[in-house]
């Protein structure tokens, strides 16, 4: 169909109707053409945050409260408290994190979000609040040397940095990508992949909740060092400054340590030494 045809189909009346419809849609829908997201959040009284729902202890659905809980959620709560607004959580999988921010579906992403230069072109990042390295889970005793991975089928999450790193470091590995880490782990259990790769703390958190965790191991090597930050919509300088300032405050008043200890402290299912503090030089 060519252009002149199209023009004749759309007469002036439908045009007017369409314009009215668009105007209505624009009027109804909030959060568009905003000058400053921080102001918008305060005005709305709600902070919309995307968090994981299947990745303990970062973000997972608590079986008792049926709410999303975790380390990322605690930081989100602290940010909302500081703003004096309500926190609204949107569950996300790894692949949806950037689209959620770019499409203005959420104000912040706190979902084990690794800071990379490529992502930084699409979104703003806060200063890091967590550090981890990419590791593997394999069935106990199966991985003799790192080189084995080059011929293996390895499960990853769609839309993660891990996938790219794996391709670069082990070009011979056959990559199978799933929607979320537990799917990949189920595939490992079933024998469809021989290893899965993710950030170490996430893997340890995952294994801690598996009944037959003795059959698996996390080999003691990392293939990357990742810094985790808060994802913020591109160009929202005021919001970024607010998040940075709040994170530093949380570290200064000891709350960051408290959050860490409640998920990775010695008394938890996933004891892990805290090697990175907010504000450390990476």
């Amino acid at each position: 169909m060519n252009r002149t045809d199209g023009a004749s189909f759309m007469n002036w009346k439908t045009m007017k109707k369409l314009t009215a419809l668009t105007a209505l849609a624009l009027a109804v829908v909030s959060g568009l053409a905003h000058a400053d997201r921080l102001e918008d959040i305060k005005k709305a009284g709600v902070l919309r945050v995307a968090a994981f729902d299947s990745n303990p202890p970062f973000g997972f659905v608590d079986p008792q409260s049926k709410q999303i809980e975790g380390l990322d959620v605690d930081y989100a709560k602290a940010l909302a408290d500081k703003l004096g607004v309500k926190l609204q959580l949107q569950p996300t999988n790894p692949a949806n994190r950037v689209p959620l921010l770019v499409a203005n579906k959420v104000d912040l992403v706190l979902a084990n979000f690794t800071i990379t230069p490529e992502r930084a072109e699409q979104v703003n990042f806060s200063i890091p609040y967590f550090a981890s390295g990419q590791q593997f889970i394999v069935k106990k005793g199966t991985l003799k040397s790192q080189e084995d991975l080059n011929g293996w089928r390895v499960g990853v999450d769609k839309g993660t940095v891990n996938e790219g790193v794996l391709r670069k470091k082990f070009p011979g590995a056959k990559v199978v990508a799933y929607d979320d880490t537990p799917f990949a782990f189920t595939a490992l259990r079933n024998g469809n992949v021989q290893a899965i790769t993710q950030d170490g703390p996430k893997l340890i958190g995952l294994l801690a909740n598996v009944p037959d965790r003795d059959k698996y191991e996390v080999p003691p090597f990392t293939i990357s060092n990742d810094l985790i930050g808060v994802g913020i919509p591109k160009g929202e300088t005021a919001l970024t400054e607010f998040v940075d300032k709040t994170l530093l405050e949380l570290e200064a008043n000891g709350q960051a340590q408290k959050i860490y200890d409640s998920w990775f402290g010695p008394q938890t299912k996933t004891p892990l030494e805290r090697l990175y503090k907010i504000g450390d030089k990476s």
Binding site: D5, A25, L26, G31, V61, Q67, K105
Partner: protein, 231 residues
């Protein structure tokens, strides 16, 4: 197999976090499918009538739009509506509305053709007779054609509804907490019982859809019997 995982999470499967949070699970699946079922019925009826009334070249854009919605995978349409519309047109549609819109547009596109076929299945004489009685085209449709054609179309409406219920499961890609989504959440948490969980979820969908399917079959049979009796 160990079905205690179902018993322990039954409330979450059926209602989501409700009443402490938004409604989810099977209840949300039902709500989504009722809403998109109604919307697609209205769209299908409107576009089907339009297909019948509009003639000539003006029909082409309508056919193109219907063809587009019948050709695009549901998954893709949900992506487009949720992530790409806000970027392209600065129109922000909430997740639930996205799913209802996407499903009802696709359902409506399919129904439009059924409605068109249902209207066309009536003898031409009906139109001519009604027009001869001095009715306007709108009146012919409303008073003569649709009352006869709608019962013929009812089974395809119900069948389309079954398809819609199943398609609500695709809302999981944008994090809408309907039955399939909460099921994967639970499966991801307990990790060792995927078979039991997906089997249970399949049973719930089966109950919803099979009852509609039976109703459609029953209606179709009663109609054909009545036709035989009257013939």
């Amino acid at each position: 197999m160990d079905f205690t995982v179902i018993r322990d999470n039954l409330g979450y499967f059926l209602l989501g976090a409700y009443p402490d949070g938004p409604l989810g699970g099977a209840a949300l699946t039902l709500a989504l499918s009722v809403l998109s079922g109604l919307a697609s019925a209205i769209i299908g009826l409107g576009l089907g009538v339009a297909l019948t009334l509009i003639r000539g070249r003006r029909r082409l854009p309508l056919l193109a739009v219907l063809g587009f919605f019948r050709a695009i995978p549901v998954l893709m349409l949900i992506f487009w509506a949720y992530f790409l519309l806000p970027i392209l047109f600065k129109v922000d549609v909430p997740a639930l509305a996205t799913v209802v819109c996407a499903l009802s547009l696709i359902g409506g596109a399919y129904l439009a053709h059924s409605v068109h076929a249902g209207i066309r299945s009536l003898p031409e004489g009906q139109w001519a007779a009604a027009r001869a009685l001095g009715m306007r085209p709108g009146q012919v449709l409303r008073l003569v054609i649709l009352p006869q054609a709608l019962p013929i179309m009812l089974p395809s409406f119900l069948n389309q509804w079954v398809a819609l219920i199943k398609d609500t499961s695709l809302a999981y890609v944008i994090g809408v907490g309907e039955l399939s989504f909460v099921a994967t959440q639970v499966s991801n948490r307990v990790m060792v019982h995927p078979t039991e969980i997906f089997l249970f979820v399949a049973v719930v969908y089966f109950v919803f859809c099979a009852s509609l399917d039976l109703a459609a079959g029953l209606l179709a049979r009663r109609r054909s019997r009545r036709r035989q009796v009257s013939a």
